[in-house]
């Protein structure tokens, strides 16, 4: 999805310039520039209080920034511009359904726009079908479950056929099971609609499912931005690495390149990547923990296409949900692996244990270090 959209990317559909928001003199958002290409889903990821929702409100013309401006298709727009505002629709954390039926809620924005009753009914029926709620028109909005309510909220936004859709943590109040299924559903719907969408979340799994591009916010600033794979797979500093649950990227230098493979010297260890860069290039290298498989130091490794075999030492072990995260060291380099609890017990994971880490060259993300 990201590659095709990246190719289609032209003039930004939405752009913010030098946006700063301050409350009582305290700056909560300071973003020199952010752009959303037409039809892409851009996820703003960050911890609570990072400024994501404030930036969403500014981009959605729901709040005037202290400084800076917002442009739609290259033209400046403001919170007082009702025509511009009516090109936008939003779904928030809670659906905030109005009293009445599902139809009353879904048709609300259409009524505001003076759409005639017959057309309203047809559009409501069509959009409810798209969100998997066909035939729910006459149900009371008060009787809906959280997931149903949020689907109605999405339908209420989609029915307006907005050119810019805002989603502010729409799944944050869902239980994990519902969140997983709804995030996939939302991703499918957003991809099908080709609406420029801004998706705010603090959940990187959710972001990686729905987004074409990701921006990570910290203390009001966007500290990393790019396609989902590179932002979540190749953190550029320690804070970002900790945020995405990885060790910081390794620094190295390309020592061999050819046949679709680069060899990178990382503090004496050679790591292979399918990203080809010229010999001598200084690079950042990273591998996602879930791509690293661990074996006992004296194990006979099975034949596989995994190009990287490194002897490592365990420096930290800690449980994480149903799995165990392991920090591994080799020379001065550190990276992580995540294994099941059963595998952790079988490998007798503990600090100082020597193991072999195996991962494919295709799993190694790499970029030049400027």
């Amino acid at each position: 999805m990201s590659a095709s959209l990246a190719a289609e990317r032209s003039a930004p559909a939405v752009r913010a310039e030098s946006v700063r928001v301050a409350y009582r003199g305290r700056t909560v958002v300071d973003v020199p520039s952010v752009e959303l290409a037409s039809g892409e889903t851009y996820a703003l990821l960050g911890a609570s209080g990072a400024g994501k929702s404030t930036l969403l409100r500014v981009l959605g013309l729901l709040e005037r920034p202290t400084a800076g401006r917002v442009l739609f298709d290259g033209s400046p727009v403001g919170a007082g511009d009702l025509t511009a505002r009516r090109r936008i629709a939003a779904v928030f954390q809670k659906p905030y359904l109005l009293r009445g039926t599902v139809t009353d809620n879904v048709a609300y924005g259409l009524r505001l726009r003076g759409v005639k009753a017959a057309e309203r009914a047809a559009r409501v029926a069509a959009v409810l079908e798209r969100v998997g709620m066909a035939g729910w028109q006459n149900r009371s909005a008060l009787t809906l479950s959280g997931g149903e309510g949020q689907r109605v909220a999405l339908a209420r936004a989609l029915v307006l056929e907005p050119s810019f859709l805002l989603l502010d943590e729409p799944l944050s109040y869902m239980d994990p099971l519902l969140k997983r299924s709804l995030s996939r559903e939302f991703a499918g719907i957003l991809a099908g609609e080709h609406i420029t969408s801004l998706y705010v979340t603090h959940d990187q799994d959710e972001a990686s499912v729905v987004a074409d591009r990701i921006g990570i916010m910290r203390d009001g600033r966007i500290v990393a931005e790019g396609d989902t794979d590179s932002v979540l797979g190749l953190p550029s500093d320690e804070w970002l690495a900790a945020f995405v649950g990885m060790e910081p990227s390794l620094r190295g230098r390309v020592i061999s390149s050819g046949d679709g493979l680069s060899g990178v010297d990382c503090g004496g260890s050679v790591i292979y990547s399918t990203v080809e860069l010229p010999v001598g290039t200084d690079v950042f290298v990273a591998v996602r923990p879930e791509d690293v498989t661990l074996y006992e130091a004296d194990a006979v490794l099975p034949r596989s296409s995994a190009r990287n075999h490194l002897e490592v030492t365990v420096s930290d072990v800690y449980p994480q949900g149903g799995s165990v995260q392991v920090t591994l060291e080799r020379g001065g380099s550190r990276f992580a692996s995540v294994v099941s609890r059963a595998a952790a017990a079988e490998l007798d994971l503990k600090t100082g244990r020597r193991l072999i880490a195996v991962f494919k060259a295709t799993a190694v993300r790499m970029r030049a270090s400027d």
């Binding site: 729901l62 009702l82 809670k94 809906l144 936004a157 307006l160 805002l166």
Partner: protein, 234 residues
């Protein structure tokens, strides 16, 4: 206890027979306080909406002012309105003193803060995110205000009832600016004072019972609205 029993029996007879000026006085009371409540709602509702919705420096002071005004003593308001409408007062040329209009004016001043104050609380309790949601679906300021008031209609109705309940039973202001003129400005509260002074307890009790009935009805409606609550967690 005999004095009460006799007064109640006499009062019931007067109410059901409709003799004397029992019902005209009740009618004027409802007309004056009803009109005052309508005007107070037209003034207090926008003020309450503005104070409940907006965030600006000095908002707290304005809310404090409105809350203080909710407790204005009716006799003092009566005094100020009397002075304003008296021949030497700034509104003396209108010649409204001792007319139902003067009574409406005094009661508007008493009821408007009640409507504004209770509306402020009702509107402020509407979640900010609901308003954002309405705006994000393309509502204009006016459409947003309409929907917010609709969503908090229980609170707004409570505000109107509180305003009406506050003035239907007050005697200080209406007696000063109305003068309790029979057939012209006599309302239930002033009539009760007048008849008690003349020892006509039965007549006073008739109006007292109707007044209590209205107060009971207004408070029952208010309690029902408060208990019905408001649901936003959905």
């Amino acid at each position: 206890m005999h004095v009460y029993t006799q007064a109640i029996i006499e009062a019931l007879a007067l109410i059901f027979s409709g003799s004397g000026d029992v019902w005209p006085v009740i009618g004027l009371s409802l007309a004056v306080s009803g009109t005052a409540t309508l005007i107070a709602t037209a003034i207090g509702l926008p003020i309450g909406y503005f104070l409940g919705m907006s965030r600006f420096a000095g908002r707290g002071s304005l809310i404090l002012l409105v809350n203080t005004a909710m407790g204005w003593p009716p006799v003092v308001i009566g005094l100020f309105v009397y002075m304003a409408l008296s021949r030497t007062g700034p509104l003396g040329d209108l010649a409204l003193l001792f007319t139902p209009q003067a009574m409406v004016l005094a009661q508007v001043i008493l009821a408007a803060p009640l409507v504004a104050g209770v509306t402020t609380a009702a509107i402020a309790s509407v979640p900010r995110d609901l308003r954002l949601q309405l705006r994000a679906l393309g509502a204009s300021r006016l459409q947003e205000a309409f929907e917010v008031i609709k969503e908090s209609r229980r609170g707004v109705m409570a505000a109107v009832i509180a305003g009406f309940g506050g003035i239907i039973s007050e005697v200080g202001a209406v007696s000063i600016v109305g003068g309790n003129i029979q057939g012209s400005t006599r309302v239930m509260t002033t009539a009760i004072v007048f008849n008690v002074n003349r020892g006509e307890f039965g007549l006073a009790m008739a109006w007292g019972m109707v007044l209590l009935g209205i107060a009971l009805f207004a408070n029952a409606a208010l309690t029902m609205l408060q208990q019905a609550g408001s649901v936003y967690e959905r």
